[in-house]
């Protein structure tokens, strides 16, 4: 009973934030609705027993990446957007297209509903907590992808610094 109420509450906030992102005209409002979506997703991760991933989700996504988005909106002084020819065509064709896509996905999921079953609430592995187990996986089996992602971040840092710097003429 209680897990279902919690899930419905946070899922409602999530979907409301996502719909608000689509409907708002000013990008700063869209950015803040996306932060609301991130926070409610972190709460859903807690429900699924992934507390470490949920906390890191808040720190990295809501606390760093979205701050970066808000910075760029503030720096470039983005204003409310205007309707143009391209967006009307996209609305006419894209709207029904996305609705069909969503319908297909939901039909696929509910078709296998009986076979899938329930998600457990809360913690999963009894020995050690989430942090311990995720860390041992990350540094033993997934060590090579971990090192590769650090190289990826280094390349991203260098690329961002080079791209955003003014050319000395």
């Amino acid at each position: 009973m209680m897990p279902q109420i919690l899930f419905l509450f946070f899922a409602a906030i999530c979907v409301a934030g996502a719909i608000n992102l689509v409907l708002q005209r000013h990008p700063i409002n869209s950015a803040l609705s996306l932060v609301v979506v991130m926070a409610s997703l972190a709460a859903l991760y807690l429900l699924l027993g992934a507390e470490f991933v949920g906390a890191v989700h808040v720190i990295v996504y809501a606390g760093a990446i979205m701050v970066l988005f808000v910075f760029v909106i503030m720096l470039l002084n983005a204003g409310a957007e205007e309707q143009s020819q391209g967006s009307r065509i996209a609305l006419l064709i894209g709207g029904p297209g996305v609705a069909v896509f969503a319908g297909v996905l939901m039909w696929l999921v509910t078709r296998g509903d009986k076979a899938i079953g329930n998600a457990k609430v809360g913690g999963m592995i009894s020995s050690g907590d989430n942090t311990h187990n995720v860390a041992s996986l990350l540094f033993k089996e997934f060590l090579l992808p971990f090192e590769v992602t650090s190289v990826l971040i280094l390349i991203a840092i260098m690329g961002a610094v080079v791209l955003a710097s003014r050319k000395e003429s």
Binding site: I28, A55, I59, G63, M74, L75, T131
Partner: protein, 366 residues
């Protein structure tokens, strides 16, 4: 009563008490700051309102409430009102995971409630109170969201001073968050857990038991003193205090990101800054100075004996606040490029070097 109801009632009582004590503490920290800085600058500080100026925070509070709450015309109204609320609420959420003591044997009933808002009393097979096992990450996450309060305040004010101040303040805060988090990783590796109560529990005892030096407590300040200094400097930059307070310096940017705010909204920013200072001092005490561990006096009755750890905790917090105010009265402020260079080019590599050395030592010992 079943444990759920007990937990809920205890939590509500604890929340009310903690918020009351915290906000009173914030008010009297402003009094302490004005007195100490006055004395450093060879003047009295507040003396008129009440004995030693002790009712000065009350007068300030009345002033804030009675002032006209003005919202300028061209601001982005929703965000203008949301920003100070966001800053204050995020500061207050951090206090909910901070443990103040072991446990309190409630006199009339036979229950023991842990001295922490999110603490849960132990069970028969796990005696001793427990809390959230990612307590430290929660504080770091909530600090990251507090940056939005400042960024949105500056942007929604629709004024050039506010925008520049907000951009500088948010850039400074997100740069020093890295050094803050990384400096704590050394302590986490030695403690082996992210739960704040467990980290304090591992600091019981002494470094050299049963020897001539057995009075040296098992606090992490001794092996991790470099990490402590990195943490302290990153904390001063996070809370926008001198020597890192360029975003709100009066001589530089009028008043920075809270230029357009008045009365209660400004008071909320003000309170958020002081609550952040207290939170950061609490985390430093818990991680480096053994939290609530101190000499225990067994001749006291049980209730006072349970409340004694809170006294030690509060004494350590007081020392940190005094150092904050002392440094404010003594040091000049950094220029903005010096500030950013210090955070990225000095503190961050030093914190990473500390992690490498600590992990090598911990791995070699195991």
């Amino acid at each position: 009563m079943n444990p759920t109801t007990t937990f809920l009632i205890a939590a509500v009582v604890k929340i009310a008490l903690v918020i009351f004590i915290l906000l009173t503490g914030v008010a009297y920290t402003t009094w302490l700051e004005r007195k100490v800085i006055g004395r450093i600058q060879n003047r009295w500080g507040p003396t008129r309102v009440g004995p030693f100026g002790l009712l000065q925070p009350l007068a300030d509070g009345v002033k804030f409430i009675l002032k006209e709450d003005m919202i300028p015309d061209n601001v982005h109204r929703g965000l203008f009102i949301l920003a100070p609320m966001l800053a204050l609420v995020m500061s207050l959420i951090s206090i909910s995971v901070i443990p103040f003591g072991e446990g309190l044997h409630v006199p009339m009933t036979h229950t023991t409630t842990p001295l922490q808002i999110t603490g849960v009393p132990g069970t028969t097979d796990h005696p001793g109170p427990t809390d959230i096992n990612i307590g430290l990450l929660l504080i770091l996450g909530v600090t990251s969201i507090g940056v939005y309060g400042i960024a949105l305040a500056g942007w929604s004010s629709n004024s050039k001073y506010a925008l520049l101040g907000a951009l500088r303040a948010s850039a400074q805060m997100i740069s020093y968050e890295l050094a803050l988090g990384l400096s704590l990783v050394g302590v986490l590796m030695m403690a082996g857990t992210l739960s704040l109560r467990q980290i304090v529990n591992t600091q019981a005892g002494s470094w050299f038991p049963g020897g001539p030096l057995h009075l040296v407590p098992h606090w992490y300040i001794f092996p991790q003193f470099i990490a402590f200094f990195i943490y302290l400097m990153a904390a001063y930059a996070e809370t926008n205090r001198i020597p890192f307070d360029l975003p709100e310096a009066e001589t530089e940017l009028v008043a920075g990101y809270h230029t357009e705010y008045s009365s209660m909204k400004f008071a909320m920013f003000f309170m958020a800054e002081y609550v952040n200072m207290i939170t950061v001092s609490c985390v430093a005490t818990l991680m480096f100075f053994g939290g609530w561990h101190g000499p225990s006096l067994p001749f006291l009755p049980q209730l006072l004996q349970d409340l004694l750890p809170i006294l030690w905790f509060a004494a350590k917090i007081f020392v940190f606040m005094f150092v904050y105010i002392w440094i404010r009265g003594t040091l000049p402020r950094f220029r903005y490029d010096q500030l950013m260079a210090f955070g990225w080019k000095f503190l961050l590599p030093l914190a990473i070097a500390n992690i490498i050395v600590t992990s090598l030592i911990v791995a070699w010992r195991a």
